[in-house]
């Protein structure tokens, strides 16, 4: 059976690849240093494939048919559609066996993911993935979440989804070493009068929750309250799902920097793999 050998959550501001030098040097070094540590850990663990969850940005779906969760089921997926992202276009390989298994096991556990062929991998995936493997050869099973268009699944529902996703990955017998990755957040505002603001107080509050592995303060937060930290901040649903998949183990906050030039609170939280966590 597959082991989740590592998991991490990371912000996915487009500017981190489109114009990385626009951030203050110290902040960029802090954030990218954390992603380098993650990349080294993935190499050390011999990760064979990743499962990545991130917010949908009207890249794959629109208002005429917007699923709350969708799994990409192709052999490979094209990314990124944004020509300005400074990430080369490529058909990123997937592991269709793992994708099909995840979908089936999610349904068995009461989740209702949409099935998607032809999924495109926008900045939500490609910024973080490119930093993990700039050859873009590492297989990735993509999953998109509705994080911005109400009515939204609650934080608790995404936590339950994450638990089901973790169970699904661990019950797959086609691979041995899988990494789970969440992209999105932290606080940011887009397309509204507060665009450019960052709620540093929210970001540090959330990171403290994840570091403690105690989600009780956020698990039942109403969406309206969460939106006070930014209309893009709902993307932290992917971080919550990942925490659920890792059984609310304490995460290690590798980085937090509010990068106003990228209009985004930028953070990275790393989780131990299953065997390592069990040994603690």
């Amino acid at each position: 059976m597959a082991e989740i050998v590592m998991a991490y959550s990371a912000s996915h501001a487009p500017m981190m690849t489109a114009d990385p030098g626009s951030a203050p040097r110290e902040q960029a070094d802090n954030f990218f240093g954390a992603l380098e540590k993650v990349r080294d850990t993935a190499k050390e663990k011999g990760v064979q494939a990743i499962v990545m969850i991130t917010g949908e940005h009207f890249t794959n779906f629109f208002l005429d048919g917007l699923p709350q969760i969708a799994v990409g089921l192709d052999d490979a997926h094209l990314g990124p559609p944004e020509v300005w992202l400074q990430v080369p276009k490529k058909m990123v390989p997937s592991d269709p066996g793992l994708a099909a298994h995840i979908t089936a096991k999610l349904v068995e556990q009461g989740q209702q993911p949409a099935l998607s062929y032809g999924m495109k991998l926008d900045h939500g995936f490609m910024t973080v993935y490119y930093w993990l493997d700039n050859t873009m050869d590492l297989p990735m099973v993509p999953i998109v979440l509705n994080c911005t268009t109400p009515p939204l699944m609650t934080v608790r529902q995404f936590h339950e989804f994450g638990r089901a996703l973790g169970n699904a990955i661990r019950s797959y017998d086609g691979l041995e070493r899988v990494a789970l990755v969440a992209g999105g957040g932290l606080s940011h505002f887009v397309g509204e009068p507060r665009v450019g603001d960052i709620d540093e107080e929210f970001d540090t509050w959330l990171l403290d929750i994840l570091a403690k592995g105690d989600l009780s303060d956020i698990i039942d937060i109403p969406n309206d309250e969460l939106m006070e930290a930014g209309n893009g901040t709902g993307e932290i649903r992917s971080w919550i799902a990942l925490a659920g998949a890792m059984n609310d183990a304490p995460g290690e906050v590798l980085s937090y920097v509010p990068v106003y030039e990228w209009i985004n609170g930028m953070g990275v939280v790393l989780y131990k793999g299953d065997k390592e966590a069990a040994a603690v």
Binding site: L63, V83, T148, G191, P193, V195, E201, E225, G232
Partner: protein
């Protein structure tokens, strides 16, 4: 006529821009969408504040502004002048 049609018009425009790649940028198409004269004006000028005030999804506004060449938060003033400023509420994480 409906908010959906405004958003559909903008979404389709963004897809056409994406398809054009580095080639000539297509202008926005309003024919074929059931839009009022005010909606046609707002998306054609464009009037970002008016598009926002109609209730257009912020992710679409963000993509549209990026396509127009705005960077980072420099379209903020267009929205601050829209007359629609969300009320801020107390939250559990504020000290």
């Amino acid at each position: 006529m409906t908010l959906y049609m405004v958003q559909r018009c903008l979404f389709d425009h963004l897809r056409r821009l994406e398809a054009a790649g580095d080639g000539p940028k297509p202008t926005i198409v309003t024919e074929g969408y059931d839009l009022t004269p005010e909606e046609v004006r707002a998306v054609s000028e464009p009037d970002i504040g008016a598009i926002y005030a109609m209730g257009t999804h912020p992710v679409i506004i963000n993509g549209f502004c990026r396509a127009l060449g705005y960077k980072r938060a420099d379209y903020r003033t267009l929205l601050e002048n829209s007359g629609v400023v969300p009320e801020r509420k107390k939250t559990r994480w504020q000290k």
